[in-house]
């Protein structure tokens, strides 16, 4: 009983108040964690780069789910983000091994570096910050200047397609969401 209430108090649970069908047709803001998780999921899917991992949020929600399911998954939370690191590392190892076996091994020693740069072209893939993303504002903030790209209106009803690099900071600040 006590366990449950302490879990609940550490998570922000509020009555959701999305009123889609009111005259304004705007999505109202939810301040609860599940809504936040949904938004983070949508942002991550739409984004060309990896966004920060929200450890606390995910851990708290996983804990609550486990409590409800009454199963013990002791290692899942701890390992979730580490698993991602593990996955990335083993992917990298596999890829290198594959390249080496297929053709790199037969090249002279000087050409064997997987991280080589040639005329600013790196063999390492990086997220393309110039990719297009579709955004809308989270709150009605009015017009803002987007570097040299002109003015846009930040509001839940104003939807734009922009270059990711132009809105990267706004996303980080939580003032826009990707849709």
């Amino acid at each position: 009983m006590d366990n449950h209430s302490s879990l609940s108090s550490s998570i922000n649970i509020t009555q959701s108040s999305n009123a889609l069908y009111e005259a304004t047709f705007d999505d109202e803001l939810n301040t609860d964690d599940v809504a936040e998780l949904t938004e983070i999921w949508i942002n991550e899917r739409n984004c060309p780069e990896i966004l920060p991992y929200k450890k606390r949020l995910i851990e708290d929600l996983m804990e609550l789910i486990e409590h409800q399911a009454r199963t013990t998954l002791p290692d899942v939370r701890e390992r979730l983000s580490d698993k991602e690191i593990e996955y990335a590392q083993s992917y990298q190892e596999l890829l290198e091994k594959h390249y080496t076996k297929s053709f790199l091994g037969s090249l002279p020693q000087s050409q064997q570096d997987v991280n080589e740069k040639f005329n600013n072209l790196s063999s390492v893939s990086v997220p393309d910050d110039y990719s297009a993303v579709i955004i809308r504002g989270k709150e009605n903030e009015g017009d803002i200047q987007l570097d040299s790209r002109g003015e846009i209106t930040l509001s839940p009803t104003s939807i734009y397609m922009v270059r990711y690099s132009d809105v990267q900071l706004l996303l980080e600040e939580g003032r826009v969401e990707l849709i």
Binding site: I11, I13, T14, Q15, S16, S17, N18, A19, L20, Y21, F25, D27, D32, D33, V34, A35, T38, I42, R45, L61, L64, I65, Q68, D128, Y130, S131, A132, V133, I134, L146, S148, R149, G150, I152, T157, S158, I159, Y160, M161, V162, R163, D166, I179
Partner: protein, 221 residues
């Protein structure tokens, strides 16, 4: 497991439906219960015949178990009109006088279709209009008034909007590398559909070098 490449560019229809399922809708429960505790929020109390506000996913689950009836949202209902509208449009007054009772004005969807067809610009709609309408038509058809007419209107509205998005796509040709593209009034589902095409086009266009007169190329008379 990494995300399959198809899902990297778009949400699947099921995912779009999942997101729309969080929208709140009214139900009339036929059971009595204090509260329902969920991770996200607490819903209830449920006291027939009072209406309750619950997320669409919960409404459909309750409906499936025959625990409630769903109240279709305003924009899917027939609207019985008030005299005021007719009084404020004097041109229609003579017509009105011919009728003993005021005629029922077009439903929201019908009006939307008219607006959509009349204007070049895409009209404002509820952000999840297609998904919600689809889910209600599929899982609660008995609650929907004028099923066939609603289906037809939705189809017409969608087609009208689709032809306008083609114009949006053509507008991409003219964009300055410096500008942003406005996609106001599009619904989430439409954005998801267009996303691969639009982003691909946007990315390619912005990669093109700036076109301008080169010094070594001069027109020779």
């Amino acid at each position: 497991m990494a995300l399959p490449s198809k899902l990297q560019r778009q949400f699947s229809p099921e995912e779009i439906q999942f997101i729309a399922g969080n929208d709140i809708i009214s139900i009339v429960p036929n059971f009595t219960m204090e509260k329902m505790d969920f991770i996200q929020a607490t819903y209830g109390p449920f006291i027939p015949p009072l209406q309750s506000q619950v997320p669409l996913w919960l409404a459909l689950a309750l409906k499936k178990n025959r625990k409630c009836t769903i109240v279709p949202p305003d924009w899917l209902k027939k609207v019985v009109v008030v005299f005021l509208v007719y009084f404020s449009r004097p041109l229609l007054l003579p017509k009105f006088i011919l009728f003993k009772t005021p005629p029922i004005l077009p439903e929201y969807l019908q009006e939307l279709l008219q607006q959509e067809e009349a204007q070049d610009a895409i009209q404002k709609v509820p952000f999840h209009y297609m998904e919600v309408a689809h889910m209600l038509l599929e899982f609660a058809p008995d609650e929907m008034p004028d099923l066939e007419q609603v289906r037809k209107l939705l189809k017409d509205v969608r087609e009208c909007r689709q032809s306008k998005t083609r114009a949006l796509l053509e507008g991409l040709e003219d964009i300055d590398r410096e500008k942003v593209i406005k996609l106001h009034n599009l619904s989430r589902m439409e954005i998801n559909e267009l996303r691969p095409i639009f982003t691909e086009a946007f990315n390619e266009i912005t990669k093109l070098p700036e076109v301008g007169p080169r010094e070594d190329e001069t027109m020779e008379a």
